[in-house]
Symmetry: C2
Subunit: 170 residues, 2 copies
DNA sequence: TAAACTAAGTCAATATGGCTGACATAAATA
DNA sequence: TATTTATGTCAGCCATATTGACTTAGTTTA
């Protein structure tokens, strides 16, 4: 009776993994949500969308708007509101591209870096606890499986992105 | 220079895991999103919120509204709109609780089951591919680490929930 | 060089999924 | 009986996303 709804053997483990991913992600994003809720900014509050921008710009200083759009997979109109707010409030600055002057290269300000740290600290703590408990082998295997969960045609791109060495500031 | 922004050793692996989780979840939820986009219902379209309800009611037939709220961690007003739509369109039915007549026990209809299958099929396929490639040991370790990513005080509850044996229909 | 394309920004309208607060009903319990 | 609990509902608000149309400036190409 336990397998009443399972289509093939192993489906129960698969379903459990699907639910675990849901709960893990739910708690994982709840950390920075709490930080943002406490953070009162002048022009409207900051949300998850701002967090994602802060994260990726912090990690990839000098990235273009187009690159950011590709990562977030949202429309430029959606990004516009968020990015405008972050720029207006001094978390992010833009520089015109030295090669291609149409591009706007994005950087965090010191204020932006501070927010990035505040947001990522609880998330890093969550993973650090995990990796310390599980050991290096399981941790490596965890990252490998996460990577293979990503659409096949984007894996190389993601690998390149996350392995990219940190560049210097503007 | 590679560790310029790292606070402690291992931070680079941690940051990579954080980004991988973001991308993995992004692609993971994109599967059912596509299914839902194709699914034209009479009174407004269905979204992720409906998917989550369909999933958990499908997995836990006879669950109460309170249990569902606890899992989703949203307000009852947020759930109300989604649940009302699913009931009105015949995906979900309610039964008054036999012990406690205030409760409304939730079940999927045949139509609801069909939608659940359509939504979960691509997600299951994604995980099946993964688990077949990685082998049982890595797969087990993956689930263990996902579980430990969840808030400590909720882990037992989640374990109980996902390990629960499938019950019979109303 | 003129035409075409590209990177980015903007305006407007709309959908979805959350939230708070207030209040209602019915059933269980102290 | 009085209170608490499970659920539902109304109203308004906010954050995040969408599509479509259009602009500006800079690059590329025919």
């Amino acid at each position: 009776m336990a397998d009443i709804n399972n289509k093939t053997p192993g489906d129960d483990e698969i379903r459990q993994a699907i639910e675990l991913l849901f709960f893990a992600y739910r708690d994982f994003v709840a950390d920075p949500d709490k930080v943002l809720a406490d953070y009162e900014s002048p022009k409207g509050s900051l949300g998850r969308a701002h967090h994602r921008v802060i994260h990726f710009v912090g990690r990839n200083p000098g990235m273009t708007v187009a690159e950011l759009l590709q990562i977030l997979q949202i429309t430029k109109q959606s990004l516009a509101r968020v990015l405008r707010q972050l720029i207006d409030e001094g978390f992010v600055v833009q520089e015109r591209g030295p090669e291609d002057a149409r591009q706007r290269l994005l950087y965090l300000t010191a204020k932006g870096e501070a927010l990035e740290t505040a947001l990522s600290t609880p998330q890093r703590a969550r993973f650090r606890r995990l990796f310390e408990k599980a050991g290096p082998e399981a941790s490596r295997s965890f990252r490998t499986l996460l990577l293979e969960l990503i659409n096949e045609d984007e894996r190389d791109q993601v690998l390149t992105l996350i392995a990219r060495k940190q560049q210097t500031s503007p």
